[in-house]
Structures are given as structure tokens and as C-alpha cells.
Amino acid sequence: MSGYRVNQGLLADSPAVPFVFNNRPFSGVQGDTLASALLANGQTLVGRSFKYHRPRGIFSAGPEEPNALVELRTGAFKEPNTRATVVELFNGLTAKSQNHRGPLSFDVMAINDRLSPILSAGFYYKTFMWPKAFWEKLYEPVIRAAAGLGSLSGEEDPDSYDKGFLHTDLLIIGAGAAGLSAALTAGRAGQRIIIADEDFLPGGRLNLESFLVDDMPAAQWAAHSIAELRTMPHVRFLPRTTVYGAYDHGVYGALERCTDHLASSDGKPRQILWRIYTQQTLLCAGATERSIAFGDNDRPGIMLAGAVRAYLNRYGVAPGKQVAVFTNNDDGWRTAADLINAGVTVTAVIDTRSGEAPLPIANARICMGSEVIATQGRLGIHSVTLRNGQTIHCDCLAVSGGWSPNVHLTCHQRGRPVWRDDIAAFVPGQTIPTGMRVVGAANGSLSLTQALHEGHDAALQALQASGLTASANTAPKATAESTDLSAFWHVAGCRGRSWVDQQNDVTTKDIALSYQEGFRSVEHLKRYTTLGMATDQGKTSNVLGLAVLAKLSGKSIEQTGTTIFRPPYTPVPIAAFAGRARGKHFRPVRHTPSYQWANQNGADFVEVGMWMRAQWYTQQGESHWRQSVDREVRQTRESVGICDVTTLGKIDIQGADASEFLDKVYANTFSTLAVGKVRYGLMLREDGFVMDDGTTARFSDTHFVMTTTTANAVSVFRHLEFCRQCLWPELDVHLISATEQWAQYAVAGPNARRLLETVVDAPFDISNEGFAFMACAELSVCNGTPARLFRISFSGELAYEIAVPARYGHALMDALMQAGQPYNVMPYGTEALGVMRIEKGHAAGNELNGQTTAANLGLGRMVSAKKDCIGNVLSKRPAMNPDNPIELVGFVPLDANASLNAGAHFIRPNGEPNLASDEGWMTSVAWSPSLNGSIGLGFIQNGSQRLGETVIAADLLRSKHTEVKIVSPHFVDPDGERLRG
């Protein structure tokens, strides 16, 4: 209980905001983060660490926070692992600390801390090896319960999320000193700009410092600049927006938090995932401070020095009443100076460097060339011990180990940062994303003056690249500052553990252990110790870890290298990536023109491709789908039925060379097809296997209409365009997908012709003589509606397919049902369609599975020997033409009451069901109303010569072995009399 509000900073006159932390009421002010409000209330302890359940406090003032992770909100709105340092306070905010059992101040799991000698790096890998079965059932659940972060609500996320696309000429990432300076120069010259800042108060460092810019306080200059930019119509300002990834060709990912700072989203999208397309980019992402490793450097109250200054200058919060500073650079001294100016007691400034104090700090003990070797305190720090044995009281220790430029986005496309000794940090390397410039602290230019100048200069370059002229202005002027630093990482010889990565509880000893056990590359070190993993991705710890590793190996940090940064820069919720594509919107569905008709007539739908197709139509009194399907099959075979076949792919093929093109893409010949006729076509892949099948109708010398299977409509069209454009561009032929332009219905059964006679307009002759099997025609129906009629049959009955422009689909269905009333016409679905095609022995998707050849399907003779076609050459490979090929035949069970399983494999009677005895497999099965029993189709070796033989259909998955007889695949009307009648 040591932090308090001082009456200064940007929030001096802000109204109070009540909130709740761990069920206790607190009060902050408008403009606070949860972290600043907790510190103002003296709440130093905010969480427990991942592994050892050590008490932990707020460490930083930004997105790099490793410790202060909390659960926000309640119920379904609960959000775990939120960084308190970036949570904008709102009225009624509810937050809870994470990862403890019992109260935060007395966590029973803190016993882990006593066990730390055996819980070191790699402990899980070594300890829980045996017995193997215990891992999943015992060890993992126990470990997961003991170590971890927050918990999920387990409920569906009630908020909505959006996605959007933005286009710009210049993207500026970060609205700090460099970003604002650049935006002013480019914006005043009229350049189209998007400027994004992750904070809810843009300005970056300008809001945290006591400097002057252009003779006004830095924060005021930032506010003025932003106000000016907001008046420019060509500038889009995106606060609360993190650019999290840099992708190829000037594409950036950004997350805008729209309502996270409000008590409720109120129906608006909570977050928007932006995809930003830009010509040029300025990365003005600033730098992140890092710590120093020393004994027990993780106690609540130990913070980054820059963060202490941020809480003081921006939020008006002193994180302690007696602050000590431990630094290896000049920047730490500024924290001490600002604290003194605000009337906060500074007990000591401890600098690892010898020599003169860079700044005068009144009434503080100045310890040059000294080090902190230990800290004391249980739930918060109360003193530190120096190398010389001195003890210094403090309730807050501000630590600065230098600054690491935020180079992350420069690395998202294989860029590797390079080491700069003078600032002891990685800066962007030579290879950075095309169109990107890195400016200010992100580029290693750590002073405010440098940032303002580089921003201005980079904007001038961007303007020049865009062909724009800068209006006469110069870079803003700022207070000078010194940024001297010594590379100092790790206080040697401490008795307490020296923490490197506080989020993952990694100490200097863990790194030494990793090194000792041979995990010496930085990537191995990361995986073995978990250094730099989880929500903060090691923003404050990576370089420190590398420095410790480098020292162990006797190499420089440059030689040691760094792990690669990948998107996202900060965590992005999965919900934001999903956007609106949730539930049924994840995958849109397609409806045929008579979908409504089917829906009103008892249809049960199934997704085929993206289409919703009727599986069967339930009638009154039917309680099982088999009743409906059996009725539909019987009705069709006895009288007439109608099936919506709109979903089959339809490709319009026209041109002088259309028939030559079809000869090249189909295995069989189409140039010989007469106008007004339809032919079954078999399409191969270039490797010789069957790709797809369908019928193609010829309406004129130069006009064909091809159908494909529903599932392959898209891929066949793509393939045909490949053939047309890439293989035979000299052919005069054009393709148009017409699947959605025509509604098409199969009318099948002995009364099909009688039904159609009543809808076909005179004088069209639909008699068997006038319109024979495999005929096609363009005609009109229902008094003038244009239509196409095909006499083709999938069911094996006398059948037609009739197509009308899509907008007439529903009306045609009504008309056909009306016309069919005297014949008791019924619609049938895909199940009855499937039963009838199995009864007829037609191959479908189950048989055309990409592993079968024309010969397998009994269609070997269709592959023309007289011409080349796709797949012709390789279909002749010896391996595809063995002596004992599998062939498509029919199967019936010996026991008439037995049912069959698709997927069962065929073995000889008394054979062992194993790979060696496998002779083929069952592809499709159905209960046949026509045969009053189960039937199946399948592939078996030399099947056509084994009719009458008995084999076993062995289904090891469902433990069912069935004796079956091999029969002809044509169960119904094998001679095809019905369809020609």
C-alpha cells in the first residue's frame, strides 16, 4: 500500500470513475488505465506468477506488461489475460487477479516457490516421463491446474466483431513524437495518410515526459498536432488501434478496439480487424525499456523506470512514497528528477556506471558504480541491499536497463535486426518490408529531438516518392536530453534468484541450465525455458536473456543472435479473426430457385458443396426417413417423380473449335455428336485417373452445354479454363459457367412423357419417335417460357431433364406438380436419387473418388484410342492396367434380411481380413424398394468375371462380416428398355 495520487499530470481535473477489483470497490479517474488506478489506490500486489505463484506487481505502463494480467468483466463477457496497463478505465469495470487459490495475498499454491529447486527449466520434460499413461490422465491436468493464466467463461462470446479494408498512400504506425512529426509534414502537403496508435491517448512518449516541444509542454504539443491532423480530410486517425502484422506487398493487419473502453458494446462491433493496403509505411513504434537481472528483482513495487515516470507525468500517480532508482543509463536519472519535482521522495539513485552524476537529485543518496544485489519484502518491496552492504529503504524501485527499439514489424518478412553497441540494442537490419521506413526510437534514435527530426525527414522522402511537394516547414524543436548508457545486464553473485522473464518465471539459473544441457541456440533456449513466450512475447526480457546466454557462451550478443519476431505484435482475439463468419455465417449456403417450394413441401435438406439440397420430402404419417425415401423410389418407378437437379454444374461452351476442345478434355469423342443429341462424357485427369463425368448436349455446330457433378462444378470449370488458356490458346472456344442461370428438374418415371406433354408448347413433338432417348432441344414451355429439354436418365426410368431460366424455377415446379396431379406426381430428394442410381448401377462420387480408372468403372472402352485427350497417355501406364484390375460390380447379401456397410473390404470366404487378402471395397449401399432387399456397389478384383461368386464383406470398424454374392451392377432394367420406351 504505497502508491498515491499527486495533483499533477494530464488527469489533474478528471472526474472520478468507480470500479471493482477482486470484489472490492475502488475509485480512479477518467483517463486512467486499470494499472494507474490500482497504483493510485496503493494496490501494489496484482497477481501471482505463472509457475511459482510468486507475488507480482505492475511492472510497466504499456503493452509489454509481463505481470499485471487480469480477468476483465464477468459471465460470458469475461476476458482473461488482459494487461492492466493498457485497459482503459470505465465506470463499473470489474477485474480479478489470476492464478491463485485463496485470496491474492495468501495463495496456497505459493508452495511451488519453496519447491523451485526441483521446478527448474525442463522440469516437466524430465520428471513426468513415466509411466506413460499417467501423462494424459494425471500429470497434465494437475500441472495445468497449478500453472497457468486466466480462465475462460466457457460460454459463447456475446459480442460481435467486424472486418474492414482500408487503402492509403502512407501508413504511419505509432502517433508518438516521430509519428506525429511525420504526419504533420506529410498531412500539410496533402498526402493521404492513415495514422494508427495503440493507445487511447495518442502521443506516445510525449505524454510521459516533462519536456518542451516548440516551447509548449510535450503533451500539449501532441494534443495540438492531433487536433490539426483531425481537421485534414485526407488523414484518417485510428486511436486504440494496434498494427500487429506486416505482410507482403504493403498489406498490414490492424486491430481497432472500438468498445473495450465502454461498459457495454451496445450492439456495435467490439473490435474491428483492418486489412490496410498502403504504398508506403513509416514505422514509428518507439522503444521498450528493459530490466536488469539481480537478486529477487521481481517483488511488487519493482518497476521499469520509464513506467514510474509515465505514471507520474501522465496519470499523476506516484507508485511509491519512497522511490529508489537503479539504472545503467541517463534515462533512469530523469525519472528521479521528475519525482523530485513532483514532491515525491527519492531515497537513492544507484548507477552501475562510475563517475559524475548526470543530473542533480536533491536529498537522494547517489551511489555511482554500485549495484543492487538483493531486495527485501514479502508482498511488496521495502528495502534493497547494495553490493557494499548498504541497505536502502524504498517501497518502489525504478529499474532501467536501457531501451530496445520496437523492431518487431521489420522482422515479419524474414528481416533480421542487427546489433548496435553504442545503444546496446537491436535495430532494424538491411532487409525490411518493401515500402517501409523506420523512424525515431524504433530505429534506435532514442532522443526526442532525433525522433522529431527523423519523422519530418521521412515524411519528406515519402512525399517525394509520391510526387508531392512539402509546404515550407521544419521539424519541431524539443528539449535536449542525453541518452548515455553502459551495457550492463546481470548483477553477478546474487543469492536470490535473478528473474529474466517474469511472465514465464525464467531466471538466470534456468538459462545457465539450458546452456549446460546443450540447448544453446537462441531458438532452443526459448523452447526449453519458455523465455519470451506467452502474452508479452518477451518484450521486456528477450534482450536480457540473450545477454545472459551470450556471457555464458563467451560470445557477443551479435553472435548469439535473436529469436525471430512473427505476427501478431500483441495478442489478437480469435474472435476478431473470425469477424462475422461465425455459426451459419462461417460458410454461406446456396439455395436453388425452388428452395422455398421444397421448404414448404416437407423437404429435409443436406449440404452438397455449398448447396442446400432436399434429401427427402416427409409426408404426413411418415416418422422415419426410410419411409419417405422408399415411397419416393416406388412412386417414381411406378408413375412419375420430380427431382431438383439445378445444382449440377452447367458450362456453356461455344466457338468454332468447341467440338475439338471437347475431344481434348473428354476421354470419349464429341466431334461426332449430332446436333440435338446428348452424350455421356468421361473426363480424366492428366495422370489418367477419372476426374468427373456428366452429359454434354449439342445445340448447334458451335454450341455445347456440359454438365458436371455438383461437387466438382468449380474445379472442372477451372480445369477447362486451364486447358483453354494454357494448353490450347489457339482454339476458338469460350466458356461460361451457367450453373446459376438455369433451374433444372429431372422428371422420371413411366408417366414422365404424359406429364411433360401438358407443359410443352405446341408444336414441339415429345413422342418417342420425335424426341428419342439422348435427344436435346431448345423449346418453350407453359405458354412461352424459354426452356431446354434433355432426354437423359440417371434413375433408369423414362426420364427427362427440363431447364428454365433460374427466375422461373419455382413457377415451373408448381406447374409440373399441377400437371402431374393425375399421375400422383411426387418430388423426390437426393436419397431416392441415390437409391435409384445404385439400383441402376451408375457410378457417382463414391466411385469417382480420384483413385479409380475408366477401366475400373467398366468404361475402359470409352477412352478413345483414335485421339489424344487429357489423361490419355498416362491412363496406359502398366500400373493402371494390371492383370487383376478392380472392377465395379453389384453385391447382395446371402441372407436376404442382412444390411450392408459401405467401406467394408472384400476377402475370400475363410480368409483373414488383412491387407494381403484384401480384394476391393464396397463403395455404395442402399436398401432397394425395387428388389425388396439390401444392395451394394463396389470394386473387386476381376469382378466382371466373378458374377455369382460368394465373398465376405468385412467391416472391421463396425465389427460386421457379411456374406455377399457378386452380381451385375445393373439391378433394375439391365437392358435399358424403360429409358428408351
Binding site: Y247, Y277, V714, E721, F722, Q725, P729, N872
Partner: protein
């Protein structure tokens, strides 16, 4: 990624479908004595290029053009985009 379509200008890669090596344009002569071997090579053997690679993309969510891209597989830089029918036409 952004692909500069020769007819439609810059388009997002999400509109395209990738096929593979542009050598697929060079379908062998099916009448050649070595046709079986030629087709095997044509269909199955590919160079795994580190650097400039010519490859086929299909503008499925667009004008349905097949394109030949010259893309550096190390950097994703696209240095050339051509209509596949132009490339195929030149070859024959």
C-alpha cells in the same frame, strides 16, 4: 500478397487460386515415342526453386484469367505478371 493483373490492375491474392510451376504450360507431344516418360516428367517432376519462380495463378474470384507470375520464393517479390494464354501462344 498483391498481384498486378495485366488487365485489372492490383488485386488481392485472396481472389486467386494457385496451381504450381508454369512448366505445366509445356504439355508434351502425346504422339512422341517417349510420350509416357515425357508426361511423367511433365506432371510429377518439379524444381524446388529458391529464388525466381514462374508459376500459374487463376483469377477465380475475378475474370477467370490464368496468369503466369514470376515470383521470388525467398522474398515473395513479384517481378512479372503475364496472361498465360499469351505465354502459351508464344511457346507454340
Amino acid at each position: 500478397m498483391i498481384i498486378h493483373h495485366p488487365l485489372l490492375g492490383p488485386r488481392d491474392a485472396a481472389e486467386f487460386v494457385y496451381l504450381g510451376d508454369a512448366s505445366l504450360l509445356n504439355r508434351p507431344d502425346p504422339a512422341a515415342p517417349s510420350a509416357a516418360e515425357d508426361f511423367y516428367t511433365y506432371l510429377h517432376l518439379r524444381d524446388n526453386t529458391a529464388g525466381e519462380h514462374r508459376e500459374l495463378w487463376y483469377h477465380e474470384q475475378g475474370d477467370r484469367s490464368w496468369l503466369v507470375l514470376t515470383r521470388n520464393t525467398l522474398t515473395h517479390e513479384i517481378t512479372r505478371v503475364e496472361l498465360a494464354r499469351d505465354v502459351a501462344g508464344q511457346a507454340s
